[in-house]
């Protein structure tokens, strides 16, 4: 029997890796307190794709498509996460499909943000190409 006071959820320390890119995962996570960063690592270069805060979730993609994790997630500071496994999650969605509304809403927002970033990059590339042509 543990005596120290604890609350629901799992604690992670600063810099701790919650999961790594290409690993197999059957859980999604909700941030109870603290922040995490979603990163892609190539060699020693780390590119931050997004920073998520309290109340936000991640890892949900693997629950739906069963593919390996698309990025690495690291704790920024000490954090607490709530972990939800795939079977429980799918059971709940089948009992109450409206539970997926918020996840779909967030996923839609992320696709929009990705579209915007992609557009910015394409425009930047086009400008660079134009500059290159003028220069040559």
């Amino acid at each position: 029997m543990k005596n120290e006071e604890s609350s629901l959820g799992k604690d992670y320390k600063d810099g701790c890796i919650i999961f790594e890119e290409n690993s197999i995962g059957k859980e999604m996570y909700i941030i109870i307190s603290g922040k995490v960063k979603i990163v892609k690592e190539k060699g020693t270069v780390e590119t931050i794709l997004a920073t998520l805060e309290e109340g936000e979730f991640f890892g949900e993609m693997s629950l739906f498509d069963n593919n390996p994790r698309s990025a690495t997630v690291k704790a920024i500071g000490n954090i607490k996460l709530l972990e939800i496994n795939q079977k429980d999650f799918l059971k709940r969605i089948s009992n109450d499909p409206s539970l997926a509304f918020r996840i779909l809403e967030k996923m839609s927002q992320r696709i929009r943000q990705t579209d915007e970033k992609l557009l910015d990059h394409v425009l930047e590339m086009n400008n660079l190409c134009k500059d290159f042509h003028i220069f040559t």
Binding site: K2, E5, L8, I84, R102
Partner: protein
């Protein structure tokens, strides 16, 4: 006479008024989900919660009186919905049940991750809260679970009126609500989230819609202050269930919560003296600090527990939710409030507020809870019989002890009991797992074993 029944084309249009009677979890959940969904489909809804209580004060007068336990599965569901529960709203995570018997303790540890439970205060905490302890944390003043939810509803756009609605009339096109004989407003939808302790539930029975509030039994809750340190060292993160024979008492448990322990008792005619007698039982006293004596005064309340379903919990422009409708037997009342409130909110916003729509889209949720309670009743009858039969109880505790000491056996019996006590799973699922042939065989072997040992002891004597 009710002239509203039978209309199957009642929709909530822009500017529609919703009156939610009761600001407990069911009322707040309904308000949050209805307002969110209305926003999502671009509809402007005018929603008011009528709640007389402030949940920030200490003591029973500002508390919706229950043991205050939430399952991890509910905390997860709410987190997915964007309602994040964290300390100090969540008081303490429970990872163990401890069965206290005259022949020793049996620990039932949480058999897996994600099946935990946590404790909450429904109001501002017990009377005579130690200020030195509450001052340790600047947020400690806002520990009320109900206040947190009503606050979340306000953030979604709900208005809150500290008024008690004492009359609803159905003799016009829309229901009208009254307070102290004065008409306050009419409403496109009246939501009865008034629980079963309130007189308001009786008010709905008089409307002629066929509504009958659920059958109830009385429980007795007491908050005993022993200080945070002793709560940690003596009770830890465990709910203690005392298997002792006390006349008139059916069930007793002690739940650690902040600097208090909550003593929950079920039975006939339980009084303050029954609690004091229980606290003075040597087995119980042994758990408290040395030289500790049961206090003369402590915060206590006698809440009702819903043990049956309400009849006709909806009509045109009226819907009853939470305890006033259907709730899980003895467990997870807050979880049932979430389920019924969400189903009612989805129906009202997406389909309409007629009796026909509530029957089609809301009632199935109530029926699922009621059907599951049938299995709950069966399971509780079985556990009651086990509790009353010393040989079978000893065999069960032996089986449990064996599983806890030898994880390779699997936690079949432990998970059944854990889920039965915590309310993390549906009763039907627990029932199916409990009647697993292998588990029953092991249980039977343990019963024969206990009988054999008893005969052997008698023979020797």
């Amino acid at each position: 006479m009710n002239k509203l029944n039978g209309n199957s084309n009642l929709e909530l249009k822009d500017g529609a008024k919703i009156a939610v009677l009761g600001g407990g979890p069911a009322g707040s959940f309904f308000s949050i989900f209805a307002l969110k969904l209305a926003k999502q489909i671009g509809r402007d809804i005018d929603l008011t919660i009528y709640e007389q209580k402030s949940f920030l004060n200490e003591g029973p007068s500002s508390c919706n009186m229950c043991a205050g336990v939430v399952s991890e599965s509910l905390v997860q569901l709410l987190a997915i919905e964007g309602i994040i529960l964290r300390p100090p709203i969540l008081q303490r995570a429970i990872d163990t049940y401890c069965f206290q018997t005259a022949s020793g303790d049996v620990l039932l540890n949480n058999p897996s991750l994600q099946r935990g439970i946590a404790t909450v205060y429904r109001g501002g905490g017990p009377v005579s809260k130690s200020t030195s302890e509450t001052n340790e944390n600047p947020d400690a003043g806002r520990i009320s679970f109900d206040d947190f939810l009503i606050d979340s509803a306000k953030k979604e756009g709900a208005k809150v009126e500290k008024i008690r609605i004492d009359k609803v009339e159905l003799n016009k096109e829309k229901p009208e609500i009254f307070s102290k004989g004065e008409k306050l407003s009419d409403a496109d939808l009246v939501v009865g989230a008034c629980g079963i302790n309130a007189i308001t539930a009786k008010m709905f029975e008089g409307l002629g819609i066929g509504y009958t509030s659920p059958s109830v039994i009385k429980a007795f809750q007491s908050e005993i202050h022993i200080g945070k340190r002793y709560v940690s060292t003596r009770f830890g993160n465990a709910i203690h269930i005392f298997l002792i024979n006390q006349p008139g008492v059916k069930f007793t448990a002690i739940t650690p919560k902040g600097s208090y322990v909550t003593v929950s008792m079920l039975g006939k005619n339980i009084t303050k003296q029954t609690v004091v007698d229980f606290l003075n039982n040597p087995l119980v006293k042994n758990k408290f600090p040395d030289s500790w004596n049961a206090p003369d005064a402590f915060c206590r309340c006698v809440p009702m527990i819903n043990v049956g379903a309400a009849r006709h919990p909806f009509a045109d422009r009226i819907v009853m939710i939470g305890d006033a409708s259907s709730t899980r037997l003895y467990k997870d009342g807050i979880g049932s409030a979430y389920l019924t409130a969400k189903a009612a909110a989805n129906t009202a916003i997406l389909y309409g507020v007629s009796k026909a729509e509530f029957y089609k889209h809301y009632y199935p949720t109530c029926k699922r809870i009621n059907r599951d309670n049938f299995f709950g009743n069966l399971m509780l009858a079985v556990t009651d019989t086990i509790n009353k039969t010393p040989i079978i109880l000893e065999a069960l505790l032996k089986l449990l002890r064996n599983e806890q000491e030898n994880p390779e056996l699997g936690y079949k019996c432990s998970t059944v009991l854990w889920d039965l006590f915590t309310g993390n799973e549906r009763y039907k699922d627990i029932f199916i797992r409990a009647f697993n042939p292998r588990l029953l065989l092991r249980f039977l072997i343990n019963i024969f074993n206990v009988i054999f040992i008893r005969f052997k002891t008698m023979w020797r004597q």
